[in-house]
Amino acid sequence: MTELLVATKKGLCVLEGDPGAPFALKARAFAGEPVEYALRCPRSGRLVASVTSAFHGPKIWYADDATGEWEQASGVALPEGGDAALQRIWVIVAGETDGLLYAGGDPGVLFESRDGGTTWELNRALWDHPSRTDWQPGGGGLCLHSIVPWPGQPDRLAVAISAAGVWLTDDGAKTWRRGNAGLVGRYLPEEDQADSDTLCVHSLQRAPLQPERIFMQFHGGVYRSDDAGETWTEIGSGLPSDFGFPIAVDPTDPDSAFVIPLNADMDRVTSEGRMRVYETRDAGASWSARDAGLPERDAYLTVLRQAFCRTDDGSPVELYFGATSGDVFGSGDGGESWCQVADRLPPVHSVTAIR
């Protein structure tokens, strides 16, 4: 049995089922509210969700049971009296020690919790970074959307901000440095592309069995790093489009990555009216469409950056993604075949899975 947490524009939907068949809707929480992201913590089993009320601002909530009472977490705010306000929490990620969670948000902020999500603290080193005044937001805001811990090494972390690039720490987030060598922003004037730090990373995923390897979906380009994010190599050749938002990896295969190509930044829908996931099993040297069971025509879907996920354990890996159309698809065999898991949900912001 697999549990999906589908965060939507109008609430959190909790689905349960087995791969290869539609899932059952077991619970809906935060009715009417935009839920950005939801996670069931792998160690504690606690549910943690980020909700951005149009009226009351972004909050993080936690519960043991989605149908029960959700408690508001404390500390999810910027320093009072400044000239910035927290806009949104984009992602929540479990760290490498019990109770450690990270949350990333707009404007380019990282929060840490050491009690499983009850209380949070702003990471001041990133907040106070002297280059912050030069950071440029992407179309979705100055969002810190990707947080990739290093298995077994809680002091090592990579995060990505749109459009302030990749940031690395080796000392438990006390200091941060950029990790952008090799990234090329084709949306910049040619003379600026080589050395600009205005880098619109869309998603990062680390290969757990080879942690120095990280895959990236960029704003035009798919990249791989084999040195923990210090340098990047373009690997998007062979895709119908190298534009897209999410990226996923098979945790049992460090040479694997999955992307969902969209036409282009000016046409953010699946190309040729076909819903296709592309897979590499050779670290980006080649790509193959994985579309058995997915819509083959008249399908112009948009899959947002947090809306593609995989299970963390076991083989074969299960993959799930949701679209702004409210459709959710899943694969129980590592992308070989797909099945519609749910439809007619509100626009999907994110999907996470645990089995």
């Binding site: 009226f55 009351h56 508001q72 705010a77 009296g81 927290l86």
Partner: protein, 86 residues
């Protein structure tokens, strides 16, 4: 003291009461004191900058109020969600 009147979900966070007597000479001062008196409300009406959130409307004696609108002891401040969304 001005009277601050709230509905759900703010009422629950403010101890389950709709009406609250709060000190302050301007709307934003009253709302700041209101959040301080009820820590569970912190950040629900004002953001970290101390501004009224974009989609919150404030009425003083049934007229639209601004952050710097002056208020007196006989005034009533209603905090309401704006007509917005999608």
């Amino acid at each position: 003291m001005a009277t601050v009147r709230v509905r759900e979900p703010l009422r629950k966070l403010a101890g389950g009461r709709s009406d609250h007597e709060i000190d302050g000479s301007t709307v934003v001062a009253v709302l700041g004191e209101f959040e301080r008196m009820h820590p569970a409300l912190s950040g629900w009406v004002l953001d970290e900058r101390g501004h009224i959130r974009r989609h919150i409307n404030v009425f003083v004696n049934a007229e639209r109020g601004r952050e710097d609108t002056t208020v007196g002891p006989a005034d009533r401040i209603d905090i309401l969600p704006a007509i917005s969304g999608g």
